[in-house]
């Protein structure tokens, strides 16, 4: 059921990116899709009642403590993938916004249908 709500967030972002005419709204739709995908990847690796994947001194008291940590920690691999994805989304946001600013300077509007009609 949380998977379905995350997919609903993705569909809202997809609707905004495909249907809207304002360029900044398209960028906002792409960002909502990125948030939804990162959330979905982390939700895949979650274990109910699990622990964060960080070892501290309390886990070394005995061998059984370490074994219980191994059997109850959440998955560290999706977290590693999402860490790079979040930083890349910031870089691509900077690129998209610089394109929007340059287009506004040249055409005077954010509307994409107006830009199509002003072909030289």
């Amino acid at each position: 059921m949380p998977y379905a709500l995350c997919f609903l967030l993705f569909m809202i972002g997809l609707y905004c990116a495909v249907v809207k005419k304002n360029m900044v709204k398209i960028v906002i739709g792409i960002m909502i899709m990125e948030y939804a995908v990162n959330l979905f990847l982390i939700m895949l690796g979650y274990r109910t009642g699990g622990e964060a994947p960080i070892i501290d001194r309390g886990h070394f008291q005995s061998a059984t403590e370490f074994a219980s940590f191994v059997s109850s920690s959440v998955d560290p691999l999706p977290q590693a993938l999402v860490l790079t994805a979040i930083v890349i989304s910031l870089g691509s946001l900077a690129l998209m916004i610089s394109i929007c600013i340059k287009t506004y300077e040249k055409y005077g509007t954010f509307d994409i249908t107006e830009i199509r009609r002003l072909r030289g």
Binding site: I54, Y104, E105, K106, L118
Partner: protein
């Protein structure tokens, strides 16, 4: 970009050094506590962005100008690639952790081979990159003489 009132300037001149120190802490103990190079680098960049928002763009450009920021960016990326190549030279495979178990004990600050060095290189790179992009966005003055195409 103009500055702000005197209250914002005073408070932000006290707070910026705390943010910078917090960013350095998150980078250095990235192999023991949550954080790592990416989050720490962005925190360092946001301390400079706070300075730019409170004091105006020209004040920050005297301290950390655009060519210096881009040189730091390239230096961070170059250091990260060098660590990978040194793994090839000393260990036999590209990117191998060639300093593991050479110094320190696990769970101490000095441990885990090349991981703290990689964290520092990535922190410098990401911080300089994001400061560069916010500086470039604030330097862009729209050219009012161009106007619409006919």
């Amino acid at each position: 970009m103009k500055g702000m009132t005197i209250i914002v300037k005073t408070v932000s001149s006290w707070v910026k050094i705390l943010i910078f120190l917090f960013g350095i802490y998150i980078i250095i103990s990235g192999h023991l506590t949550p954080g790592g190079g990416f989050a720490g680098g962005i925190i360092i960049a946001s301390s400079y962005v706070l300075l730019m928002l409170a004091f105006g763009r020209e004040f920050v450009e005297e301290n950390l100008s655009l060519p210096l920021a881009s040189k730091l960016d390239c230096l961070g990326a170059f250091a990260f690639a060098m660590i990978a190549l040194l793994g090839f030279v000393f260990g036999g495979t590209f990117f191998v952790n060639f300093l593991v178990e050479k110094y320190g004990q696990p769970l101490e600050l000095l441990s885990a081979g090349t991981i703290p060095l990689s964290n520092i290189a990535i922190g410098v790179k990401v911080g300089a990159s994001l400061f560069l992009v916010v500086l470039t966005l604030s330097m862009f003055r729209p050219d009012t003489s161009s106007g619409k195409k006919e």
